[in-house]
């Protein structure tokens, strides 16, 4: 893995990078009217059954430009983690 490592500050999962990206999206891409958002069921699938999800159903990279979708993904991920620990 070491050869792929791009930053000495980050780990092999690029955790810091994705955390910063998430914060960046939350701060810079408010979308209160939920314009262009994929169906909530698609976001749920992305977390629970990602093999079923297509780029088209996600409206391409919309999530990287939507604080609302990012927030929902965080909640779904948290819920999944919570369920797994029970």
């Amino acid at each position: 893995m070491a050869e792929n490592h791009s930053s000495p500050l980050d780990d092999d999962n690029d955790t810091l990078l994705f955390e910063k990206l998430q914060e960046h999206v939350l701060a810079h891409y408010p979308n209160p009217e939920r314009k262009g958002c994929p169906d909530p069921a698609v976001l749920k699938s992305l977390v629970e059954a990602p093999g079923d999800v297509t780029l088209a159903s996600l409206n391409d990279l919309h999530i990287f430009k939507c604080a609302e979708c990012t927030r929902m993904l965080m909640e779904l991920r948290q819920k999944k983690k919570h369920e797994a620990s029970e």
């Binding site: 791009s6 999962n13 990206l21």
Partner: protein, 189 residues
């Protein structure tokens, strides 16, 4: 009552003076205007408070782009879009700075805080991120979305039926570009 329609990218290109002997310039500029049109409105709205000046500013950017291109060799659509966008953003920033210099006597803008441009910085970042992500291939897009929705590359690799090393290598270029964009914020930690 007939409502006046807003100019389209095609209207703006119609107004511009393109050198007839270099037909590629008109073709590539036309495509470039269409490609950056949405960003241009977003950026102008964020920097100037509204996007009503976009057609006028875009015309200036088109003229600047044409004058630079007619003295050089043919460029790709992407390069022309980058040049046009740079000239557009430059003109928007110039106007924003000119507006910031208009200080009303007795207003709080007389206070010497020197930070008139600071609130706009996050908007610049947002637009840059949009640009970073727009040309990545579909398989990398889906991998990045999967990684964004979970916490480990090993899980992404399992979903895509590949290895963790392979998927990270495939995404490396996009990750480097995002990392570069986020670098300032990461170093703050």
């Amino acid at each position: 009552m007939v409502e006046m329609q807003k100019p389209t990218p095609s209207d703006l290109c119609w107004n511009a003076k393109f050198p007839p002997e270099q037909e590629w310039i008109e073709r590539t500029v036309h495509v470039a205007v269409g490609n950056i049109w949405r960003h241009a409105h977003h950026f102008a709205h964020a920097q100037l408070g509204d996007d009503s000046m976009v057609p006028e500013i875009m015309e200036i950017a088109i003229d600047g782009t044409v004058s630079r291109l007619e003295t050089g060799s043919p460029q790709s659509h992407e390069d022309v879009a980058v040049l046009l966008e740079r000239l557009f953003l430059q003109e928007v920033r110039r106007r924003r700075n000119a507006n910031n210099r208009l200080v009303y006597l007795g207003s709080d803008q007389e206070l010497p805080n020197g930070s008139a441009q600071t609130p706009h910085a996050p908007i610049d970042s947002a637009i840059d991120l949009d640009r970073i992500l727009h040309d990545i291939p579909p398989d990398v897009r889906i991998a990045l979305l999967l990684r964004y929705s979970r916490s480990r590359w090993s899980e992404v690799a399992a979903v895509l039926g590949t290895t963790e090393a392979a998927i990270r290598l495939r995404c490396k270029r996009a990750l480097d570009r995002i990392r570069q964009k986020m670098e300032g914020e990461i170093h703050e930690i």
